[in-house]
Amino acid sequence: MSNLMQMLKPKTKAQTTTLFAWALIAPAALVMFWVVVWPLYETFRLSFTNSTLGTLMGGAEYVGWENYEKAIGGRKFPSIVTRTFYWMFLSVGLKVVLGLIGATLLASNIRGRGIFRALVMPPWIVPIAIGCFGWLWLYNGHFGLLSNFAEMAGITDGPYSFLAYKQSAFYSAIVTDVWIGTPMVTLFFLAAMQGVPRDLYEAAYVDGASRWYRFRRITMPQIMPTVISMALLSAIWTFNSFEIIWILTEGGPRGATTTLIIDTFKTAIFSYKFGAGATRAVLVCLLLGVFSLIYLTVLGWVGKKYGYAGVQK
């Protein structure tokens, strides 16, 4: 004990600082260990067992790679993974494009932009579940605004239930996901745009550069770090997006909106197959890890080649 105290006793000023800093961080770090790190380890462990509701607290048998073989070898697995990535790329792409357009509009020097900025935020601040109720009603074939509008415009002949058909259900869920994710992306892009030094624009303006040219050659390179990190963060959240799909379609119709996270939830919480569910959760982490690595590597390489500032630290 006294040995330990001896070891922990700070010898230099730097050591005192380190000790004090860690003492301040310790509570937050402990919570992370308790609620994130341990559960992660536990997920990993459970993924090799046949744990169910009865054996969750102990007594589950070790089954080796069986869960993984079943999950990856499953008939639906390839299509679920493809769908998840398609869902992520399409949704994040739309969020980034819309976010850029929105931020550019809201950054322009016009009257009333303070109000406009506030009016864009509600999808982000309102509980996701409640926003989804609104969309549920919008997509309704008989009573929803969209279907009736389409009928009036002559696009459809009669009521069209957007969530009842495979294709339209998937794209409807994407629209809702984009709706929820865009405000935050817009806000951060707007912030980055306002951080671009004004003299850059003025110099370009004096030299006769057009608006589009200024956007392309000044704004974009300057906000690239924010775009890159927001896109990655958004990609991770979209990949794990659960509530939206669950409330709109519960993964249906006929699995058309079942992404990996929905599949995980269904397996684990609805069928109480905790082992098999944990396997899917591990696969989610693995796929996201690999994706993030590739993303950052490719962008780091592109950044070097084209001189972007790289990923924001």
């Binding site: 004090f20 301040l24 919570v31 609620v35 341990w38 322009s108 996701i128 009603w137 009036m152 993030s292």
Partner: protein, 294 residues
């Protein structure tokens, strides 16, 4: 000069903004209209004769009637007697999560903002990496954890995961605010013989109040928005249910009281909307200034 727009430009900008905002507010408008319509009108659908196209009047008649009223806003309290409780739970949970998170966030953010020490950047990156593992991935062990401590079906079942997943963002956000407080102030306090904790409490915290408010609101909004998943998986006790989960009670065995459901949703949004409206300027300015700095 540079920021002057031609008339055509202006029209273009305003139209685009209008479209953008329409997209963002459309579901709320639809919810509001649905909440005003009596259930009978909601489900009566004037049929268009076969072969004829729907006219604009037909279209409008499906969304507008003379019988529109705020009746649903009165009836919903009768249909779901627990509604006030659900709204209270939502606000209570978000508030608890906010204050508990801040207790962990403040000291950690201070350490990251002020000191350079061993393991700083690594641990900071690790905190950010926690974002990768949103609640949905860790549901099973979290369920086990909460059951182990007998916390299932209590407020804690929703508070603990909420706190854990909001701490990292809080630390990152507050750190950027604290970095802007001049170090000289602290040095002056040190010279006068103040201890580190005393400095944190008496010098730094008062100066950090604006930043703390922004971080607090951001956490509150996050906590208010993300209650659904933890509520449906970790809590079966109706007394502790937050609004997003409780609202499903309007979906009855035979009919869905859509108008009341929409009314209740909109009312449930009011607390967070209220806070947002008052703090909107600080929040947007705060979040953005935090994001710019690096």
């Amino acid at each position: 000069m540079m920021d002057k727009y031609s008339l055509l430009h202006k029209i273009g900008i305003y139209t685009s903004i209008a479209l953008f905002i329409t997209f963002m507010l459309l579901p709320f408008v639809e919810m509001f209209i649905a909440s005003l319509r009596p259930l009978t009108h909601l489900f009566s659908r004037p049929e268009v004769p076969l072969g004829e196209t729907m006219s604009f009047v037909d279209f409008m008649s499906r969304f507008w009637s003379d019988k529109m009223s705020f009746q649903a806003y009165r009836d919903m309290w009768v249909t779901v007697p627990q509604l006030p409780r659900y709204i209270f739970n939502s606000v209570f949970l978000a508030t608890a999560v906010t204050f508990i998170s801040l207790c962990f966030v403040i000291p950690a953010a201070y350490a990251y903002a002020r000191f350079s020490f061993k393991g700083k950047s690594v641990s900071l990156t690790l905190f950010l990496a926690v974002n990768m593992f949103t609640g949905a991935v860790l549901l099973i062990p979290l369920y086990k954890l909460l059951r182990m401590y007998g916390l299932l079906n209590t407020y804690w079942a929703m508070i603990i995961p909420g706190v854990a997943f909001l701490i990292p963002q809080g630390i990152w956000l507050l750190k950027t605010f604290l970095e802007k407080i001049p170090y000289e102030l602290e040095e002056a306090a040190f010279v006068d013989g103040a201890s580190r904790l005393y400095t944190l409490r008496r010098v730094i915290l008062p100066l950090a109040v604006p930043g703390l408010i922004v971080v607090g609101i951001a956490i509150f909004i996050g906590a208010y928005a993300q209650q659904f998943l933890f509520a449906i998986t970790f809590n079966q006790n109706r007394d502790y249910m937050p609004l997003p989960a409780g609202i499903f009670e309007f979906i009855g065995y035979q009919t869905v009281l859509w108008n009341e459901m929409m009314a209740a949703s909109l009312v449930g949004v009011l607390p967070v909307l209220f806070i947002f409206l008052f703090m909107q300027k600080h929040l947007v300015a705060g979040l953005t200034s935090g994001a710019v700095k690096e």
